[in-house]
């Protein structure tokens, strides 16, 4: 029988984290010490906040499905580095766009279902738990203080790592972010994509209703 309630399953999350680390490192690497620390640390890396509650001033009313406040702090540091020059330079616009991107990512993560969410939970835990942030992500600042250059360097490390598991984690982060960003109709023009052919807006009843 499927059990859907993984968010409350602290024991399961802990086991999954160990499985994640084992999968990546097989115990015998230079990072073995960090693996041991992370895997023994239990639920201390778990976010303490209600994941559904409002968290940041940038997105006060949205009912979050998956992303916690800590996750959003990490993403606020990473999204500008992932999106790069397409990020608006105006501070307010930038903050609003990042918030909307996180909302779309949260939606996408919801529809992925529990097994994928469990993997993303492990990934965010690894990024948020200080010993693994320092040793595996090798990000030395707290996420709110991470500069775009530091975020970029982190992404490059994981993209080009010889550890398969970091490549996979990089792909996960970047794909969900890019899908949320470039899937927004107001960002279509950043890819030179005009959207569905103009005439369909007159010819298709479902688009008439949408407009």
């Amino acid at each position: 029988m499927p059990r859907e309630n993984t968010e409350n399953g602290e024991g399961n999350a802990d086991m999954d984290r160990r499985a994640f680390l084992r999968l990546g490192f097989n115990g015998g690497t230079a990072l073995g010490g960090a693996v041991a620390i992370a895997s023994l640390s239990g639920c201390s890396a778990r976010p303490l906040h209600d994941p559904r509650g409002p968290a940041t001033a940038s997105a006060p009313d949205h009912g979050w499905h998956f992303l916690t406040e800590e996750d959003r702090v990490v993403l606020a540091a990473l999204i500008p580095a992932i999106i790069g020059p397409q990020i608006p330079s105006d501070a307010d616009e930038r903050e609003a766009t990042i918030a909307r991107t996180m909302e779309d990512m949260d939606q996408a993560l919801h529809f992925m279902g529990p097994p994928n969410q469990a993997e993303f939970r492990q990934l965010f835990d690894l990024l948020e738990f200080t010993p693994t942030r320092l040793t595996m992500a090798r990000v030395t600042s707290y996420w709110p203080n991470v500069s775009e250059a530091q975020a970029e360097a982190f992404l490059q490390r994981w993209r080009n790592s010889s550890f398969n598991i970091f490549n996979k984690a990089y792909l996960g982060l970047v794909q969900v972010t890019n899908a949320a960003w470039y899937g927004r109709p107001d960002h279509y023009q950043q890819m030179g994509y005009p959207g569905p052919p103009a005439y369909t807006y007159d010819e298709l009843p479902q688009l008439n209703r949408a407009s």
């Binding site: 029988m1 499927p2 059990r3 859907e4 993984t6 399961n12 580095a81 992932i82 999106i83 790069g84 020059p85 397409q86 779309d104 939606q107 996408a108 993560l109 919801h110 529809f111 992925m112 279902g113 529990p114 097994p115 994928n116 970029e152 992404l155 993209r159 398969n164 490549n167 996979k168 990089y170 792909l171 996960g172 970047v174 794909q175 972010t177 890019n178 899908a179 949320a180 960003w181 470039y182 899937g183 927004r184 109709p185 960002h187 279509y188 950043q190 890819m191 030179g192 994509y193 959207g195 569905p196 052919p197 369909t200 298709l204 009843p205 479902q206 688009l207 209703r209 949408a210």
Partner: protein, 532 residues
């Protein structure tokens, strides 16, 4: 002229369509035949059995989305119409799995390519796997039957530029190329097949066999996950199912019990073994979930001097089988060359990058052309396919190791794709691989491709074709069902989807599924009537 709101009108006319998300209590259904899955296999089966006079119930885990929902929006479509919100992948994450999860299954979101099973494949099945009645001439009437029913014809409109590049490259190099037969009627040539056809032109089961069944009094229950087939001795007694909420993800807590005289499982090459494993159906030789095949896909991307607009026009209209059988049927895995449609999210997912590199990629997008190679897996000793197992929560998961011969096939296909794209006039070509940059000439590409690391998460790999896992055959030591999809151990259980294939096909699978499901459903109807 397109007919819109097919289901809205049908439901007004009294079609029995139940949204399990709205069930307010545990519920019980009874039918002559219960069919699990509404894709190519389940839809076709429902139509034939309804027309033969049986009371049919169709169970679909995904939700009913239809033309009013199909607004050509990638985010909405991918999240709702695909398995795991389009993030399904093999267990190690190495191969992204594109698979439908909605009424119509993958036929709602596929790119409409409709090939008969290659004769070489059918002969291999007969000779190497002992499959009965699978000769090309035996199956030909069934292919013809479905081609008529689904309006399958070679595409007569001029290919879009994305496909045109494949044609021109093949032409220039003297390679085989042909026009793809498509299951469309009154197609507008828009290019959004993968997001659900907005005009009902695509003749998937959503607009053909499922409505045909409903008109004959069949019941469709969607948003309902088939949990377990309860069986006793040699018979399935009932299906236990779980209602999912309006998001299609979270169970509502309502349970559904479905009793029937016969059960047909058509839940895909991942879903069907998953359901049978959860149900612990007899599997004395441990064949369930084994030999699952994917047509593993790799890709190359070209920057063309002209505008390509790979987002507009019929997504697939040209293919090349130049390299499909080159080393013999059981030799090195050959590959079929086709092209994928590219919209912003799809493009960003295929070639993930960040920062300046991603922005540069976005900037090139309208001039980007892509070719894909679909490798024929399961024909040689080295390619034994993958294995479906259950996660702790009971959901199915596919473990698929890339074999040495498949990796060799990947390198060979990158070479041929790049050669073809340069022959068609590409300014630059890159492999869809994390370690590939753009190459400015065929010579440069040829040297660089030889050095590309053959590793998952470096090579970007995909599959849109899942096959096997409930293999057919006459010997129960090597198969789950017989040559007609009838389960070896349970007498009132059949499997009618791509999971029964003993190997991959070497061609897009929907027409093979339609034809075998139609043939096997006819036989099932005769059998059930004989017993009545």
């Amino acid at each position: 002229m397109a007919e819109f709101n097919l289901y809205g009108k049908g439901i007004e006319d009294g079609w029995a369509v139940e949204d399990a998300a709205r069930l307010e209590a545990d519920t019980h259904f009874q039918a002559d035949v219960a069919i699990i899955g509404t894709g190519a296999g389940g839809g076709t089966t429902a139509q034939l059995l309804s027309e033969a006079g049986f009371r049919v119930i169709l169970v679909e885990e995904g939700r009913l989305y239809h033309d009013p929902d199909f607004t050509m929006n990638e985010q909405k479509s991918y999240s709702r119409l695909y398995q795991e919100g389009m993030t399904r992948a093999t267990a190690d994450g190495g191969i992204a799995i594109l698979q439908g999860r909605c009424v119509g299954g993958s036929t709602t979101v596929n790119w409409t390519s409709s090939f008969r099973t290659p004769e070489a494949t059918l002969n291999h099945w007969k000779n190497q796997h002992g499959i009965q009645d699978c000769e090309p001439e035996t199956l030909s009437p069934w292919f013809g039957n479905r081609e008529n029913e689904l309006n399958i014809q070679p595409w007569t409109t001029e290919p879009n530029r994305n496909n045109g590049v494949l044609r021109d490259g093949c032409q220039e190099l003297g390679w085989d190329w042909k026009t793809i037969p498509r299951n469309v009627k009154g197609c507008w040539d828009l290019g959004y097949c993968g997001m659900g056809c907005p005009t009902n032109a695509k003749q998937g089961t959503l607009v053909t066999s499922v409505p045909a069944s409903l008109r004959r009094g069949a019941t469709l229950v969607h948003s309902l996950r088939a949990e377990k087939l309860h069986h006793n001795q040699d018979r399935v007694e009932y299906l236990e199912a779980t209602a999912l909420g309006e998001d299609g993800v979270a169970p509502t807590g309502r349970k559904v019990r479905i009793e029937a005289d016969h059960f047909v499982v058509a839940a895909s090459a991942i879903g069907s073994p998953g359901l049978l494993l959860r149900s612990k159906v007899p599997d004395p030789h441990e064949r369930l979930g084994r030999r699952t095949f994917l047509h593993p896909v790799n890709a190359a991307v070209a920057r063309m001097p002209e505008t390509v607009e790979a987002y507009y026009g019929a997504p697939q209209s040209i293919y090349s089988d130049e390299f499909l059988w080159r080393d013999g049927v059981a030799g090195k895995p050959g590959f079929k060359l086709e092209v994928p449609p590219l919209h912003p999210v799809m493009a960003a997912a295929v070639l993930p990058d960040h920062g300046e590199a991603m922005a540069a990629q976005a900037n090139d997008f309208p001039r980007i052309q892509s070719v894909i190679a679909l490798l024929r897996d399961g024909f040689n000793e080295d390619s034994q396919g993958g294995t479906v197992t259950l996660r702790d929560d009971g959901s199915p998961q596919l473990h698929y190791p890339m074999s040495d011969s498949l990796w060799e096939g990947m390198r060979e296909s990158w070479l041929r794709m790049a050669e073809c794209q340069f022959a068609a006039g590409a300014s630059a070509v890159r492999a869809v691989h994390m370690d590939s940059g753009y190459w400015n000439s065929w010579k440069e590409a040829r040297e660089a491709i030889k050095e590309l690391p053959l590793a998952i998460h470096r090579a970007r790999l995909f599959t849109a074709h899942q096959m096997g896992g409930c293999a057919m055959g006459e010997d129960p030591r090597h198969s789950v069902v017989n040559s007609y999809g009838e389960h070896h151990q349970l007498s009132n259980l059949s499997v009618h989807d791509a999971s029964i294939f003993p190997t991959s096909l070497g061609a897009n699978p929907q027409l093979t599924v339609y034809a075998l499901a139609a043939r096997n459903s006819q036989r099932l109807a005769d059998r059930l009537k004989g017993k009545a």
